[in-house]
Subunit: 196 residues, 2 copies
């Protein structure tokens, strides 16, 4: 079996995005991360900043606050509207050239295809904190809070959109702890299966 | 870093046990699975059959039925008593020769050691059903029910003993789907990290 599409789900600060980018380069695949935000923004007419926030971090509150909050002309909640467009765009990308897609429930959206390889990247908290401290110029306590907050939001968003739990080993073909395996190790392990 | 101990957690029917055994042979490590049951039985004075059932599949009901059910002379519930002995034996084994340990919350029990590499093996339901049909001479529906029941029990037992959720990617260094990667692929991937 050959895998045309690789989805990367990841804990915040685990290096999953960088690993996805390295992998795409090595395989000669397209790499989709922020491009998806731009496409969803274009198609929905909503601001990129808003999509970046809602496309992966909607808090599921729309189920409760639906009647009181933003509502599109179709009668859908805005979270549902964004997810619907995101779904269409990810399916369209998957029909195109071989690619690596980061986040955005792509593993769930593409579950009916047989040429998709799903990866989850996690890391030790200590390393995630160091990485987030440097990247966002934060102190250690603030970095840890940010990591926990972001992962909680990803988890709630994933469960809301997919009705299954985030970060469960069984939903992925391979899960790697980048602290143990290293970025290069992750790339070469995924590559060895995908190219087989 | 070198890893002296490899723990294998696995879905029922995923081939995790066989992969662990192959891995131990290739690395020249000891392999502990049923040996642990025998040791717990010997130390606790309880029957091996009973330990096999309770050591990994206690249903956590002891929390509720504690007052009405089996109670040891120490005042502990029997599930707690079995887990306490199991914990001691696994720690003792880990202090000995390099080894592969299958199941029994070993990943949690040995979490304070730095030389432990934690693996989780899952597989596609179709393959798990085929494997269980052959191994236990069951029909497909009965096999699927057995798989779901066993994993549910493992999950409840793990949560009861460890207070964390079973099969969460973040609790393992590597999680592999044996249907995609193959038994040999799983062994060589784990080996490549452990020997590094």
């Amino acid at each position: 079996m050959s895998f045309k599409i690789i989805t990367i789900s990841r804990e915040f600060g685990s290096g999953g995005r960088a690993i996805g980018e390295m992998l795409a380069k090595e395989l000669g695949y397209k790499f989709y991360d922020k491009e998806i935000i731009a496409k969803v923004a274009e198609e929905s007419g909503l601001a990129e900043e808003y999509i970046a926030k809602r496309g992966e971090y909607s808090n599921g509150k729309s189920m409760l606050s639906y009647a009181f909050s933003g509502r599109t002309s179709t009668g859908m909640s805005i979270d549902d509207y964004v997810f619907k467009i995101q779904k269409g765009i990810i399916k369209e990308l998957a029909d195109g050239e071989p690619c690596v897609i980061v986040g955005r429930c792509a593993d769930f959206i593409l579950q009916d295809r047989e040429d998709v390889f799903n990866v989850f990247i996690c890391a030790d908290m200590k390393e995630k904190i160091n990485r987030v401290c440097m990247q966002y110029e934060l102190g250690m306590a603030a970095a840890e809070k940010m990591i926990n907050d972001m992962d909680k939001k990803r988890s709630v968003n994933y469960q809301y959109c997919t009705e299954r739990k985030w970060a469960q080993a069984k939903n992925y073909d391979i899960c790697l702890n980048s602290s143990d395996v290293g970025y290069d190790g992750c790339v070469s392990m995924i590559k060895s299966v995908v190219e087989k």
